[in-house]
């Protein structure tokens, strides 16, 4: 398992626990701003992070020289996804509009990076 995948999976497990902790707080009468954080910890942090990490590891190889595509792009994708999610966690309770925009753009760039690096690896053998 490549190091980047290990980072993805370990962080996704942290987000999984954090999401369910947030759900407990929410069920116990937590604040309104918690709902989008809970949902996105689960679907972006846990599920999407897990998918990005496992796909990077297990999808068909791009080439002998670059089996997992452009490694720099993959690392940037990882960093942008984590930064985008963490920014959202900070920005939601503060209602910091500028940070929400930054979070949105960061996550979008992560999505584009993942698609660009994964698309050529999705091929028939």
């Amino acid at each position: 398992m490549p190091p980047l995948t290990r980072w993805y999976i370990k962080l996704s497990l942290v987000y999984f626990v954090a999401a369910l902790a947030a759900s407990v707080w929410q069920a116990a009468g937590g604040p309104l701003w918690l709902t989008p954080i809970y949902i996105h910890l689960l679907v972006v942090g846990w599920i999407t992070g897990m998918i990005f990490g496992v796909a990077y590891w297990m999808f068909p190889k791009f080439s002998k020289e670059q089996p997992r595509g452009a490694d720099g792009l993959a690392v940037a994708t990882f960093a942008l996804l984590q930064a985008g999610l963490l920014l959202r966690i900070v920005a939601e309770p503060l209602q910091a509009g500028g940070l929400l925009v930054l979070s949105a753009v960061s996550q979008w760039l992560a999505g584009v990076g993942f698609i660009a690096n994964t698309w050529p690896r999705v091929k028939e053998r």
Partner: protein, 138 residues
């Protein structure tokens, strides 16, 4: 990766891009409020990512990696069912999105029925492959 899985996964990547784009606009709009009417797109954001991305990716990867029946051309069961599931799922996503944005409630129901049929077709294909490996006796 078999051809039908390539289609499933590439379609899932397209929905990932579309769903993230809609989500980016929604979140940016939440931050700086430039287009309040964008909130109508929230159900589209959910549909694109939950069904178009997550569900479709799982279906394509499952068809690819589940145990096969040896190495024959029919190793992955009835391939036609997988193609049918692909068509129905994608038609369902489009119809549900159209219904959420503009159509009558019946349109969303129709889209859900197509997605239900896709799930049934995929289950029929995967059910018999949910077993020990077709290559080894284990």
């Amino acid at each position: 990766m078999p051809r039908v899985s390539v289609w499933f996964v590439r379609a899932a990547l397209v929905y990932l891009g579309a769903g993230f784009t809609v989500g980016t606009l929604l979140l940016a709009n939440k931050g700086i409020g430039f287009a309040p009417a964008l909130w109508r797109w929230l159900p589209v954001h959910l549909e694109l990512l939950l069904v178009g991305w997550f569900v479709q990716l799982v279906m394509g990867v499952a068809y690819w990696i589940f145990p096969r029946f040896g190495m024959s051309p029919a190793a992955r069961g009835r391939e036609g069912l997988a193609w049918l599931a692909l068509g129905l799922l994608n038609a369902g996503v489009w119809v549900v999105c159209a219904g959420a944005l503009a159509g009558p409630p019946a349109l969303a129901t129709l889209g859900r029925v197509a997605e239900l049929a896709a799930a049934g077709a995929m289950a029929l294909n995967i059910w018999s492959r949910t077993r020990a490996s077709g290559i080894s006796p284990m």
